[in-house]
């Protein structure tokens, strides 16, 4: 059987989605509100003392659909940055300034980690000293090559 015929045969299996538990589950498992409260307290601390907080979303038993609700609740802010190191990562400011959603993916686009970071800027966005030193050495080399 050719690939397309096999695919057609697969599509012919009648799949009917009945009342997605994603919606039902998320309504009752209640991780969203406590998490948002935690974010609020962290933001208060950041403003008061400058203390940064990172929340690892992988450590919470989220029901199906809950992560989407959290994401929707946090929304989109002014900044979105993409990091390309060992795969793509997205660092997005949420609608609440100082609250960032960081998603790390590996080279095959699988999610490696999801964090909510409450900081002026997530540390991973800052230029790192070893990288800067290497960059400086490379720049110096490049300039020497151009001196005439």
């Amino acid at each position: 059987m050719s690939a397309s015929r096999a695919n057609d045969a697969l599509q012919a299996i009648g799949l009917r989605v009945e009342g997605s538990p994603r919606v039902a589950g998320a309504a009752f498992t209640g991780n969203v509100l406590p998490l948002l409260h935690e974010v609020r307290h962290a933001l208060e601390r950041l403003l008061a003392t400058g203390e940064e907080t990172t929340i690892d979303l992988a450590s919470l038993p989220l029901a199906p659909g809950e992560f989407d609700r959290i994401e929707a609740a946090l929304g989109q802010g002014e900044v979105t940055a993409t990091l390309n190191a060992l795969g793509p990562s997205e660092i997005r400011e949420t609608r609440y300034s100082g609250v960032w959603l960081v998603t790390h993916r590996n080279a095959t686009d699988e999610v490696m980690g999801r964090y909510i970071e409450i900081a002026r800027m997530p540390a991973v966005l800052l230029a790192q000293e070893p990288d800067m030193r290497k960059g400086l050495a490379d720049l110096a080399l490049a300039l020497e090559g151009r001196v005439d």
Binding site: G19, G25, S59, L62, A63, L83, A85, T108
Partner: protein, 356 residues
């Protein structure tokens, strides 16, 4: 085979930036179920960690544990971890085969004597050691020889940790766990049991990462499993717990309750007595876990789960026997009753006589 390169050097040589390294450390912290606050410490430790030699011995197993670990996060993280450990022998995935492979194993054991980590998956048959052999050598002999120079043993999967499915009644091969074999041989080595059928891949790599980072074995529970992954039971972290609390149970697969995602207690879920990280870390990169897919937990990380009376028998049911046996007991009781009546009636008659 053995290299003195540190992980930091390995990464730098592969052109991984500091940012990339930080990302790697964050993922590793997540993997080890450590709080994000520990990331700087992990970074410092990993930078300077030396590459330990790991020898992986497969015994009476289904290869599911190897499948699990290679199926996990992809090349990037696993590749890094496996590049940082020096996986000197793993006969499913190594390139060498046959005599060459066995030679590689012996050389690695000799070169790293006293320092290598011995990873074992599969149980060891004890009834007749010839039941499971590699290249003519029995699993038992290979194991005993390898244990001598091992720094620690990682028993990967429920078979190695507790005996596993081969041990199910009537245990025809005399399957034994790593700990059982060590006890029988009178040997002692630190063992980490990473149980699960198969174990969650991040549990395997997390333990290796932990060893790399801290140079010591993680904190273990009373069954020798790392508390980071086996410290909580499924029931306590299950997202369907609120349904249990309210008494909303699915009565059969595909009924209304099941479709609404209700608790699977009545369909035999062993979540309350099983300790694993399935409910938080989940499977297939967080896609889900058995309960989320609508099937009760099998208890596959626990010893004896294979003989718990059936995957669909709820915890409130047991192996109570049958009506016939109870009927026989009742008949025996009735016979006893008749005997005691006979005695009583004699006493009653005597009492009546004395009265008159």
């Amino acid at each position: 085979m053995r290299t003195q390169q540190t992980l930091g050097e390995v990464l730098a040589s592969r052109g991984v930036s500091r940012r990339g390294f930080m990302k790697f450390c964050a993922s590793t912290a997540s993997l080890m179920a450590l709080p994000p606050a520990m990331i700087p410490r992990i970074a410092a430790a990993l930078e300077n960690a030396k590459r330990p030699s790991v020898i992986w011995l497969p015994f009476q197993e289904c290869t599911g544990c190897t499948e699990s670990i290679t199926r996990s996060h992809a090349p990037t993280l696993e590749g890094l971890i496996f590049d940082t450990i020096s996986l000197d022998y793993q006969h499913t995935i190594m390139a060498a085969a046959g005599a060459r492979a066995e030679e590689a194993r012996h050389e690695a054991m000799k070169a790293n004597f006293g320092e290598y980590i011995l990873a074992v998956d599969g149980s060891i048959p004890m009834k007749d050691k010839a039941f499971s052999c590699i290249a003519g050598e029995s699993n038992y002999d290979i194991f005993i020889e390898a244990v001598k120079g091992a720094k620690a043993i990682v028993a990967i999967g429920t078979c190695a940790a507790f005996g596993g499915i081969p041990m199910a009644k009537p245990n025809p091969t005399g399957a034994a766990s790593v700990q059982d074999v060590l006890n029988e041989a009178g040997l002692q080595k630190p063992i980490i049991n990473i149980s699960g059928c198969p174990p969650i891949p991040t549990a395997i790599t997390g333990v290796l990462a932990q060893y790399l980072t801290f140079g010591e074995l993680p904190e273990l529970d009373h069954l020798g499993r790392p508390k980071a992954f086996f410290g909580q039971n499924i029931h306590d972290r299950c997202y369907r717990r609120p349904f249990y609390e309210r008494g909303e149970f699915a009565e059969s697969f595909d009924d209304e309750g099941a479709k609404k995602g209700w608790c699977l207690y009545k369909l035999g879920c062993k979540g309350p007595v099983t300790y694993n990280a399935c409910a938080t870390i989940k499977w297939n990169n967080g896609a889900g876990f058995p309960i989320e897919g609508g099937h009760g937990c099998l208890g596959c990380a626990e010893p004896g789960f294979w003989d718990w009376g059936g995957f669909y028998r709820p915890l409130s049911q047991g192996d109570w026997g049958d009506w016939k046996t109870l009927g026989i007991a009742a008949a025996a009781g009735a016979a006893l009753g008749i005997a005691s009546v006979a005695v009583s009636r004699v006493k009653q008659a005597r009492a009546r006589q004395e009265k008159s």
